[in-house]
Structure formats: structure tokens, C-alpha cells
């Protein structure tokens, strides 16, 4: 069964048509890279899957269940079991690294002891176990990327959405984080939908590439 399905999805913002009758099927544990120029609708696809936007037309299914359909979201973002790494990372500046990771686990009412174990393990996985009490602005760019990735994965989502998270990093760091991401993917088996306009990132991460142009799959 397909993990994520977009069926005839259209989305406009005001007068601007961002997605036009887009259909896309993504299999479980696939690493799909949405590749294309700015304004081609890649980020909107991620936001629709996350539930942060509602499609004007068409249907979105996750694990066979309809989550959104023509102007209505049936499953809110917090119930979709989706993790996301935003382009600006969106780390909460008033919280420490540990608190950033604990937030989602607390919201999902995971027991405190188990949550602490999970956070410790995840920070160890991304090599930040020594930075638990640091605030985001005290971290380097690469460390911030790792915290964002750890935060998205700590609640063990079945889908990980990534919106050009490495665009601001230099090549060497980019490769290191991409390699970490592949390790995490093989360990947790989530479905990865990755947005970029960088050919090198695509080559590093994709098991399948979907080229987008003007709101359609090219």
C-alpha cells in the first residue's frame, strides 16, 4: 500500500495557482526528493501532507486514510504522526536543546522517564549529548540542524518532511548531516519527503526523485 497519496490536488494562494491537479504516490520508507526551482510548489506539497495547509481540490491519504479533501482537513497536523524540519529550522529560542526535544513528547503524554531516555538516545544519535542545556542561539549552524532533525524524529513519526534544511550549510557539513540522515532513516524506517533545489543533495539522499515545475510533476 502507498504510504502517502495525493490525488488531483490543487492549491491557490489568492490569484496564484501553486499546485494544479497534482497526483503523487509515495511508498512506505521511500526517500522521495521533490526537486525543482523556487515557486514550483514543493514546499506547498510538504505543508499539505503535514496538514498546515488545506487543499482547495483533491484528496490526500496517509496509510489509506483520507486526511484532507477539497477544502477540509479531517486529521489535524498534531494527529498525523508527521515530523518536519523547516527551512528556518523553527527551534524554539527560549527552550534548551533538551526542552526542544521534550516538548513534543510531553504533548503526547509520553511518561517522563521514557521521554528522557528517548531524548538522551536521540541526542546521542546526532552527536549532541553534551549540548543538552544549550539554547539554540548558542549552537553552530550544523548543531542547530541536528537539533531540528532530532526534534522531528524523537516522537518517532512515520513520515519525515524536510524543507530545504541544508540550504544554508557549506558542502562539508551538508554531506555529514545527509549521511546522519541516511543512518537514521535505515534505523527508524520512516518515509522521507525531502524538498530541495540542489542537485548534490538530491544525489546524496534520494531513492526516487520527483521533478516539479509550475505546480505539477514535470
Amino acid at each position: 500500500m502507498n504510504h502517502i497519496e495525493l490525488d488531483g490536488v490543487s492549491k491557490t494562494f489568492g490569484e496564484r495557482v501553486v499546485l494544479s491537479d497534482l497526483s503523487l504516490k509515495i511508498e512506505k520508507a521511500e526517500r522521495l526528493v521533490l526537486f525543482g526551482p523556487s515557486g514550483s510548489g514543493k514546499t506547498t506539497v510538504l505543508r499539505l501532507v503535514a496538514g498546515l495547509e488545506v487543499p482547495d481540490k483533491g484528496e490526500i491519504r496517509i496509510e489509506g486514510r483520507i486526511v484532507a479533501n477539497s477544502g477540509k482537513n479531517f486529521v489535524p497536523p498534531e494527529k498525523r504522526n508527521v515530523g518536519m524540519v523547516f527551512q528556518d529550522l523553527a527551534l524554539w529560542p527560549h527552550m534548551t536543546v533538551q526542552q526542544n526535544l521534550m516538548f513534543g513528547l510531553n504533548a503526547r503524554r509520553i511518561q517522563k522517564r521514557e521521554a528522557e531516555v528517548r531524548v538522551r538516545e536521540m541526542l546521542h544519535r546526532v552527536g549532541l549529548e553534551h549540548r543538552t542545556e544549550a539554547k539554540p542561539h548558542q549552537l553552530s549552524g550544523g548543531e542547530q540542524q541536528r537539533v531540528a532533525l532530532a526534534r522531528a524524529l524523537v516522537s518517532r513519526p512515520s513520515i519525515l518532511l524536510m524543507d530545504e534544511p541544508l540550504s544554508s550549510l557549506e558542502e562539508e557539513r551538508k554531506c555529514a548531516i545527509a549521511s546522519d540522515l541516511l543512518d537514521l532513516h535505515s534505523q527508524f524506517g520512516f518515509t522521507l519527503v525531502y524538498v530541495t533545489h540542489d542537485r548534490a543533495e538530491t544525489d546524496l539522499l534520494a531513492s526516487r526523485v520527483c521533478q516539479m515545475r509550475d505546480g505539477r510533476v514535470a
Binding site: 497536523p77 498534531e78 518536519m84 524554539w92 513534543g104 504533548a107 503526547r108 539554547k135 526534534r151
Partner: protein, 517 residues
């Protein structure tokens, strides 16, 4: 979409219900009663009002006073605001805070101060002070900070890169004229509309300086004649003017929210050898508008006997003022924060329009509406307690805290909320764990602004405070009739301290560093 959305919707409706009960219902009832007489529709009150010989001159005086005040504020406030925002003038922030002082005090303080100046020169009455000229002088001093600060904020918000691009082609005067001023125009025009509205509804200054205007007529019809119909009919034109002003504001600004965040360095006006001259001009302005009247007012306050008598006769009013203002500020901060948060994506225009309409409506008009609505045996618990005053403060000033909150929310990246949402957090958890900690500075600013506005308010304090429970501005106004100058001076000094201490805190908070992004 599940339980979380319902919680948001319920809270939004509760907030709107508070605004409706506090402000919209009294105004609606007042308008209704002004056209409903003995069980049927009637324009009798309006006919009587219009046929009254006094009405048209009073309306004319009100409009003339408001126009003159807005013009003076514009002529002084716009260049001052531009200099504060764009020049290398020394002591800019000092001048800015000094010129803001009259706005945080009850408006009649400056009038009282000028009357002391006149009295000290040995003249008992003065034609220039007690009349149109004096009113314009006093109201311009009081409302000048609105134009100066909003011009400053608008000019600071102009994208610095646009000015730098202009600077490559021409000198700074042309850049100010062709780029900075046109791009700041909506904010400047908004400030002028605001000054016009506040001046047209002002009660205490024209009444002290014996200049007949419509709010004074409305107040005397209510307080002296206890004629609700006539008071209401006199108040409705003021409410209509306020409504018109808000419509103009909505058209000018289209609900633009100022975030007080500048982009790039932008233009710097090099004053060079003009620095001492401009600083001297601003010093002179500060002396004329602030230091002279206030020092004349406070000169008699520094005596132990006067201070003791002041505390004996009005100590309870001081405590009441601080407590009422603190409670109202807490309500207003919470309401503004919730309204801002819940409407930051949708419904912002409607909420802005409603709250700004209530802000623009003169306090006398709102007070009459509140008394009319709540003065019944069933609602005595509200009418005879400070609850009525709290409702008045809430209606009048929720626009300020809502706008401040909205401006703060626009500085918080939307993705922080989205990330929390995807983490599984409910609306309430996101509100308390993400937005509240990130808005600490906004919340403190909103609380202090609301506190200062409630503390300095005169019409609501005068008309809606419970019997024997008057706040300090109303108490001073009452004692002015027969109190000794030293007593009044001491009370004014106490009031000034209560207002200026929060202003000093506000200055520190604004200067403090925000949470690093």
C-alpha cells in the same frame, strides 16, 4: 477539526463577548434610546438638540479645537519624529521620553500647570489661556507624543535599503521628501486622525479652560440635569465622528500592523554644524511644553504639610487608582493577548475596527452608555462597584493591548507555532509554552501601556467610579474647586510619580534585549 479548534473558537467568542458587553452593548443601547421615545421611533431628542441655539456653535468649537490641535501636532510632531528616527541628533531618546511625559499624565495637569504659570506672573485671568488658544496649547502638548512616536515608528520601519538607494542619487532632504515621508504617510495620517479623535472627545481641559465644546454639554446634561435623552443625543454626534475617524483610519492603513523592526541601516541625516541648533530647538520645545507647566504645577508640592494633607484627603484615592489600574491592565493585557493571538491569521480587520472604534469614542459617551445599561436593580452588583469602571477601561483601551500584541506576534516566526503543532501540542499548550514565553516583552509593554492609560483616564473615572470610590484623577478634579494650591500640587505630584515610574520601567523594558532568535 477536533477538540483543539473548539477550544480556540470558544475562547475567541468569550473575548468578543467581553468586548461586546463592555463597549458595544452600551453604545448600541445609547443609540437605540436616542431614537426610541415612549415606545416608538422618534428623532425628538435630535430635533431638540439641533434646534438648541448652543448645539451648532459647540459642535463647531469641538471640530475647530480638534483640527487646530491635530494641525499643531502635525507641524511639530512630524519633523520631530523624523529627526528622532533618522538623524544623528544627540540626546534623542532623552528628548523623546521627556516629550512623552504630558501624555502619560491626566490631560488637565498641563492646563493646571499653565494656570499656575499665569498666576505666578501676577495675572489672575488670561484671555489667551482661558479659551481656544489655551486649549490648543495644552492639548497639543498632551497629544504631541502620539504624532512624534508614530512618525518615529513609521520612519524607522521604512526599508533602509530603499533610502540608501535614494541616497546614491540625491541628498537627504530629497530622500526624506520623496521616500521616507511617502512611505511613512499611513502611520503619520493615522496619528493625526487619532489626535483629532482624542481632542474632539476631550472633556477635562476645555472644561477647566472654560472653552465650550460638545463633550462638556453632554457631561453637564448628564451630571447636572440628569437628562439622559439629551445627554445621549449630544453624545451620539461625537460617537458618529469617532466612527467616521476609524473608517478613515481603516481606509488609510488597511489594518497595517507596525512591528517596530527596521530593515537595514537606512538614512542618517547628518546634522553636522546644525546639531547644537536643532538640539537647542528641541530643548526649548521641551521647556515650553513640558518643563515649564509641570515645574510650575509641582513647585508648591514639596512641603511636608501639603504632602501630609494630600495623603489624608486623598490617600485612599491614590491606592484605589493604582489597584483599579493594575487590575484593569491585567484584564486588558490578557484580553489583548488572546484577541491578538486568535485573530492573527483571520478576523484581524474586524477586531481592529471594533476595538479602535471603542478607543476613539469619547470617554464621556462610553460612560453614559455604561451607566444607562447597568443602572438597574438587577445589575446593582456591577453598577455600584468598581466593576463598571473596569468595563469602561476594558472597552476603551483594549485596542491598545490588542494592537501591541499583534505587533509582537508578527515578530514571532509562524514556523515556531507550526513546529509545535506538528509535535502534537494542543492550542493551549502552544499558547502557554511557545507564545507566552516568547511574548514576555510584549506582555510587559501591553500591561504598562494599559496601566498608564487607565491611571490617567479622567472621564471614566469621573463618571463610572462607584460613590465614594473615586480614583485620583477624579478626586483631584473635585478638590480643585476648593483645595489649596499646595494640596493640589502635592496630589498631582503623587499622581505623576504613579504614572512616571511605570513609564521608566517601560523605557527599560523597550531597551532590554529580546530573546535571541
Amino acid at each position: 477539526m477536533g477538540r483543539t479548534v473548539r477550544a480556540e473558537t470558544i475562547v475567541l467568542w468569550l473575548c468578543l463577548a467581553v468586548v461586546a458587553i463592555a463597549g458595544l452593548a452600551p453604545i448600541a443601547l445609547m443609540v437605540f434610546e436616542s431614537v426610541w421615545h415612549n415606545g416608538h421611533f422618534s428623532l425628538n431628542h435630535y430635533r431638540e438638540l439641533i434646534l438648541t441655539a448652543r448645539f451648532w456653535p459647540l459642535l463647531g468649537n469641538s471640530i475647530r479645537l480638534a483640527l487646530a490641535t491635530a494641525t499643531v501636532c502635525g507641524l511639530i510632531g512630524v519633523p520631530t519624529g523624523i529627526f528622532f528616527a533618522k538623524s544623528d541628533l544627540p540626546l534623542r531618546s532623552g528628548f523623546m521620553w521627556l516629550l512623552t511625559v504630558p501624555f502619560v499624565l491626566p490631560p488637565y495637569f498641563i492646563a493646571l500647570g499653565w494656570s499656575r504659570v499665569v498666576a505666578r506672573t501676577g495675572v489672575t485671568t488670561s484671555d489667551w489661556l482661558f479659551g481656544f488658544g489655551g486649549c490648543v496649547l495644552v492639548l497639543s502638548s498632551v497629544f504631541l507624543p502620539i504624532v512624534t512616536l508614530l512618525t518615529f515608528a513609521s520612519a524607522s520601519n521604512v526599508d533602509g535599503r530603499l533610502e540608501e538607494a535614494g541616497r546614491l542619487a540625491s541628498g537627504w532632504p530629497a530622500v526624506v521628501r520623496r521616500i521616507t515621508l511617502p512611505l511613512s504617510a499611513p502611520g503619520i495620517l493615522f496619528s493625526l486622525v487619532l489626535v483629532f479623535l482624542l481632542a474632539i472627545g476631550e472633556l477635562s481641559v476645555p472644561s477647566f479652560l472654560r472653552y465650550p465644546v460638545l463633550p462638556v454639554l453632554s457631561f453637564t446634561q448628564f451630571a447636572a440635569s440628569y437628562n439622559f435623552g439629551a445627554a445621549t443625543a449630544a453624545a451620539v454626534p461625537l460617537a458618529a465622528l469617532a466612527f467616521l475617524g476609524v473608517l478613515i483610519e481603516a481606509a488609510l492603513l488597511q489594518n497595517r500592523v507596525y512591528t517596530f523592526r527596521s530593515i537595514g541601516c537606512g538614512l542618517v541625516i547628518p546634522l553636522d554644524r546644525w546639531k547644537p541648533f536643532v538640539a537647542a530647538m528641541l530643548g526649548l520645545l521641551s521647556v515650553a511644553l513640558v518643563i515649564l507647566p509641570l515645574s510650575a504645577l509641582f513647585a508648591d508640592a514639596f512641603s511636608l504639610t501639603a504632602m501630609r494633607e494630600a495623603l489624608q484627603r486623598a490617600g485612599a484615592s491614590v491606592v484605589r487608582s493604582v489597584i483599579y489600574s493594575a487590575i484593569a491592565a491585567t484584564i486588558l493585557m490578557t484580553l489583548g493577548f488572546l484577541l491578538g493571538h486568535l485573530t492573527r491569521d483571520r478576523g484581524q480587520r474586524l477586531v481592529n475596527f471594533l476595538t479602535l472604534s471603542l478607543f476613539a469614542i469619547p470617554g464621556t459617551v462610553l460612560s453614559i452608555g455604561l451607566i444607562r445599561l447597568w443602572n438597574s436593580p438587577m445589575t446593582w452588583l456591577i453598577y455600584t462597584t468598581p466593576a463598571l469602571l473596569m468595563l469602561g477601561y476594558t472597552a476603551q483601551y483594549c485596542a491598545v493591548t490588542t494592537r501591541l500584541s499583534l505587533a509582537g506576534f508578527f515578530l514571532i516566526p509562524k514556523t515556531l507555532d507550526e513546529a509545535a503543532r506538528l509535535s502534537g501540542a494542543s492550542w493551549a499548550r502552544r499558547l502557554f509554552r511557545i507564545f507566552v514565553p516568547l511574548s514576555t516583552r510584549t506582555l510587559i509593554c501591553a500591561w504598562l501601556a494599559a496601566y498608564i492609560l487607565c491611571l490617567r483616564d479622567v472621564p471614566l473615572a469621573l463618571m463610572t467610579a462607584p460613590p465614594g470610590g473615586d480614583p485620583l484623577p477624579a478626586r483631584i478634579l473635585t478638590l480643585m474647586a476648593n483645595g489649596a494650591p499646595s494640596l493640589i500640587a502635592s496630589l498631582c505630584l503623587i499622581m505623576a510619580i504613579a504614572s512616571l515610574v511605570p513609564l521608566a520601567i517601560l523605557a527599560r523594558v523597550i531597551r532590554a534585549q529580546a530573546i535571541p532568535a
